[in-house]
């Protein structure tokens, strides 16, 4: 076994009212629609801990859901405080990496 490479976040920014942008340590940049991200909340009240089934009804999440605040947890996850008052989801970097839409072309000198 060799030390597996985990990705860390280099930059976290608001790209639009409903769009988050994350730049990873390997230079890959990804975009996230905020409502889509909220629908993927991994917390115990949104996803059944044992079965992995989704408890949250995706239709109940409005398109206007966006974060109020995002904060780091340790060195491995982000906690989202959503404007629908939900704030129990810890999004690990691994999860975020798997949920993002890669940007098609790298943005110029940012």
């Amino acid at each position: 076994m060799s030390a597996d490479t985990k990705h860390t976040i280099r930059k976290l920014e608001k790209a639009g009212e409903y769009e988050l942008r994350i730049e990873w340590d390997d230079g890959v940049a990804m975009r996230y629609n905020t409502a889509t991200l909220r629908r993927k909340c991994p917390c115990a009240s949104c996803i059944h801990e044992w079965t992995g089934e989704q408890i949250l009804d995706p239709l109940s999440v409005l398109e206007t859901v966006k974060p109020v605040r995002i904060e780091p947890v340790g060195r491995y996850a982000l906690r989202f405080h959503w404007n629908d008052r939900h704030d129990t989801g810890l999004y690990t970097f691994d999860l975020l990496r798997s949920l993002g839409e890669p940007e098609s072309s790298p943005r110029k000198n940012d």
Partner: protein, 362 residues
């Protein structure tokens, strides 16, 4: 020959801080540089507290400058241990520049011994050091450092660490109120650790060493998730069982992205004081091999020395009791490597963006 700043900087360009790959120039260790005729005044900010490193860097600077015709170099030196970039605003342990977790996959391998001596080595070099005995199952730091007394409360919920041989010490033992081991259960452990991280007035510290409980269970995971750890040190003995468990420790830290500073092989070999013969009682070298396999640094091997054990029992750790002994020297080298790596991490992480975002402010 007329020298200017650029000549000097070019001459010093390649120099590195001992034990790191930081160049004096890019790491801003050279804080200021002035030339007057053929004399130079150079101001240095050392990123680790060890004088031997300062001396060898200073000599290298002097040598290089002499080569280009500088007659005399005046030094102004200051130790300034760099703080790790924090990715949050409301992070725990705010005044602490570096947080080192000492872990082992298995109990009894000498984790607490290494923690105490590592902390003392850093403190003896002049750093401000704290030691957190987070071993909920068997706190032992009070004894090892011969610390009597209990921490006082600064206010209703804030504890002031006690002073133990120049180290600020807090132990889980101080919380439970007596010395009988307490069986803490999962959720209690979580609460206790949270309290421990938020309610201790550490003040300004260059290094906080945390002695984790042995193993890779709930308490360890909670700590690694909650505490903003800068790096971890994994202690093992040369035995295979211990090495297997060390791998588990490594995986635990990788899962939460805590850099592993390296592996220490404790009780590595025995030198018979009478004959000077060396015996590898447990088969030495496994720590180094494992570190190689896992591509993490190997920090060093500490020999078996009855004086180490005695020092722990008497409350006088070996680096103080007998700093010249091979075991103490080994730990001092480990401390230098740890400090060097932390400086590297901190300096390279400078300017890394905060992962904190207030949506409507942007």
């Amino acid at each position: 020959m007329k020298l200017d700043q650029n000549d000097l900087r070019a001459a010093l360009n390649e120099l590195r801080y001992p034990g790191t790959d930081l160049t004096l120039e890019s790491a801003e260790i050279i804080d200021d540089l002035r030339v007057k005729n053929d004399e130079v005044l150079i101001r240095l900010h050392w990123p680790t507290p060890f004088q031997a490193s300062h001396r060898s860097a200073r000599e290298a600077v002097e040598g290089k400058l002499k080569e280009i015709g500088v007659k005399k170099t005046h030094f102004q030196e200051q130790v300034e241990i760099p703080a790790q970039a924090r990715q949050g605003e409301n992070s725990l342990l705010p005044g602490v520049r570096n947080i080192i977790a000492v872990a082992s996959g298995k109990g009894g391998v000498g984790k607490s011994t290494v923690s105490a001596n590592l902390a003392l080595s850093l403190a003896r070099a002049g750093a401000a050091v704290g030691l957190m005995d987070a071993d909920v199952y068997g706190p032992s730091m009070g004894l090892m450092l011969g610390a009597a007394g209990r921490p006082v409360m600064a206010d209703e919920k804030t504890l002031i660490p006690i002073d133990a041989q120049g180290i600020r010490l807090m132990s889980m033992a101080f919380l439970s109120g007596d010395d009988t081991p307490v069986i803490w259960r999962g959720p209690m452990v979580h609460g206790l650790i949270q309290q421990f991280l938020s309610n201790v007035a550490w003040g300004e510290l260059d290094y906080l060493v945390i002695d984790l409980p042995p193993g890779t269970g709930d308490a360890q995971l909670t700590l690694t998730q909650l505490a903003p750890l800068s790096g971890s040190v994994i202690v093992t003995t040369p035995q295979e069982v211990s090495l297997i468990d060390a791998r588990k420790g490594l995986r635990m830290f990788q899962q939460v992205n805590v850099p592993v500073l390296g592996v220490v092989e404790n009780m590595s070999y025995f030198v018979d004081p009478a004959s000077g013969n060396r015996t590898d009682i447990f088969g030495h070298g496994g720590g180094k091999r494992t570190a190689g396999e896992l591509s993490i640094p190997f920090l060093g091997e500490v020999p078996i020395d009855p004086e180490v054990a005695r020092g722990g029992d008497e409350g006088m750790p070996i680096v103080r009791k007998n700093p010249e002994s091979p075991a103490a020297q080994a730990i001092a080298v480990i401390a230098e490597k740890v400090a060097g790596q932390l400086a590297e991490l901190a300096i390279k992480g400078r300017g890394s963006a905060a992962l904190h975002l207030d949506w409507d402010d942007n």
